[in-house]
Amino acid sequence: MILVVVEYANGKVSKSTYEMVACARQLGREGPVAALVLGSGVANIASEVALVVGQVLVAENADLAQYDAELWSAAVAQIASEGEANTVLIGGSRSGREYSPRVAVKLDAPLLEDVISIVDADDTLTAERYTYLARVTEKVEANAPVIVVTVKQGAFTAAAPGNQVAEQFDVDLTLPQRRLQVTGKSTEKSSRIALTEADIVVSGGRGVGSAEGFVTLVEGLADQLGAAVGATRAIVDAGWRPYSEQVGQTGKTVQSKAYIAIGISGAVQHLSGMSKSKCIVAINKDADAPIFKIADYGIVGDVNQIVPAMIAELKK
């Protein structure tokens, strides 16, 4: 069995889940592709994912209403051993990368972290992943009865639903006590498409001048393009934008079809979060800004003039 741990948000299966299913199908290891749904009130999620996998394991449990690394890792490890999984696929999200090492330790399994490609030959998995702030591609190999893999977001083409509907099975879990108490949450709700799911990302840096400048320029352009918005650490630190929009080493990684960088210098820590985008566009007044080195298209100019002109052009 190849176990895929389902990621979902706001009542919908996340794109990363379909990417993991694509990864699992392509691996083609022995046994069915089984999706594990953890949570409370997840019936819809289970039916949605039933359209892409061989079977669905549903752990409906009030204790799982809120994510916790210890609970999630206990649940996944239990199901992986009971189902004799040979591979466990976990999303390359913040939480996936946080609890997956615990699953690997519980199963005494190797962990292939944040893989961008993976193949199976004679029970050995060979994977590629980025290292050195995404500047280097490393090839690593694991051979063990069970292997835990986190799958980089955006690296695989999402699997499309078929006509078959997989059977669902309820599973019982033995869960530990929650020890990390979450005492408050500041989630920034946005009506926009999620950064990691968008085809186009428009990002702003210090060059947009102010929080208001970001709204006019970056959000203004994103509105025209139906794009997600991103930000550099510099402006998150300045309080112009929420952390959930930060792109880079210590923020999110995006691999969009187009990444439009507005007033961003292109520090390596920022590039590590977006350099794999297919088409990179930069607007910066400094012709020597490092961002231009990895740009496909760009304009050397003042964002306050260029971006409104682009918005006007798109409105035509």
């Binding site: 946080e98 399994a109 694991a142 108490q181 304009i299 006007a312 798109l314």
Partner: protein, 252 residues
């Protein structure tokens, strides 16, 4: 209370990466303490300054160059250091066995670990160590206070941030913003030379790597570099939009 803070000597982020014989070649490049590790070292010192009877132990596992990282952390104030010297490349899951054994032997109650390594881009060591010790973990921590046996603070989660509370012992992984790390001063660098830096061998920990490293390469995607002059803003904007529509075909 004893605190273990993990450090590594890595390639300075500003340096370019060179590959030789299928490996990253660090010879002649500028190496520094991993920034994410500096936040952990700094935070351990702050805990020591705000409580009584705290000992800060810096730990590095890896090749000889990691002693430079340990000396740096001793110079900013760590009490002593342990270096498990090995040229063997350990993946984080096997490495966590070493860290957990040392934590137990030293009776440590709090471990700081970098949120993401700047060379391996891994997040795994902190969580794997916490699991081996059966401790809770807090990842991507950017605010931390210690009140007796309770830790409170703030950390980054999937979307937005959370405030938390957890009992010791625990593993904390760092995030940018946790603190402003201090710099070593020359007199403290001299004093650090007299502090204990214990070198141990890897054999006693009985670890086997769980991954085999095959090769590395630098893949540079060819970029078009069509950079327009923006002096005439409307004309440049119109041309860019045209290119994105008809050439790149990324917008409609």
């Amino acid at each position: 209370m004893k605190i273990l803070t993990l450090v590594r000597q890595v390639l300075d982020a500003e340096e370019s990466v060179r590959i030789r014989g299928g490996e990253v070649d660090l010879n002649g490049s500028k190496l520094v303490v991993d920034t994410m590790d500096e936040y952990g070292a700094e935070q351990s010192l702050r805990v020591r300054e705000s409580s009584v009877d705290v000992e800060v132990i810096a730990l590095a596992v890896g090749p000889e160059r990691n002693q430079d990282a340990l000396r740096t952390v001793l110079a900013i104030g760590a009490d002593r250091a342990i270096h498990v010297m090995t040229d063997l490349t350990l993946d984080p899951i096997s490495l966590s066995q070493v860290v957990a054994q040392i934590a137990q032997k030293e009776n440590v109650e709090l471990i700081f670990c970098g949120g993401q390594q700047s060379d391996w881009d891994s997040h795994a060591l902190g969580a794997a160590t916490a699991e081996r010790l059966q401790w809770p973990q807090v990842t991507w921590t950017n605010g931390l206070e210690v009140h007796g046996q309770t830790l409170t603070g703030k950390h980054d989660a999937e979307d937005g941030s959370e405030t938390f509370s957890v009992e010791l012992p625990a593993v904390i992984t760092t995030q940018q913003g946790l603190n402003e790390p201090r710099y070593p001063t020359v007199p403290n660098i001299m004093k650090a030379k007299k502090k204990e830096l214990r070198v141990e061998t890897l054999e006693q920990f009985q670890v086997e790597p769980k991954l085999k490293f095959l090769a590395v390469e630098v893949q540079v995607k060819a970029r078009l570099h069509k950079i327009l002059d923006g002096k005439d803003a409307p004309a440049a904007a119109a041309e860019l939009v045209q290119l994105l529509r008809n050439e790149a075909r990324v917008i409609t």
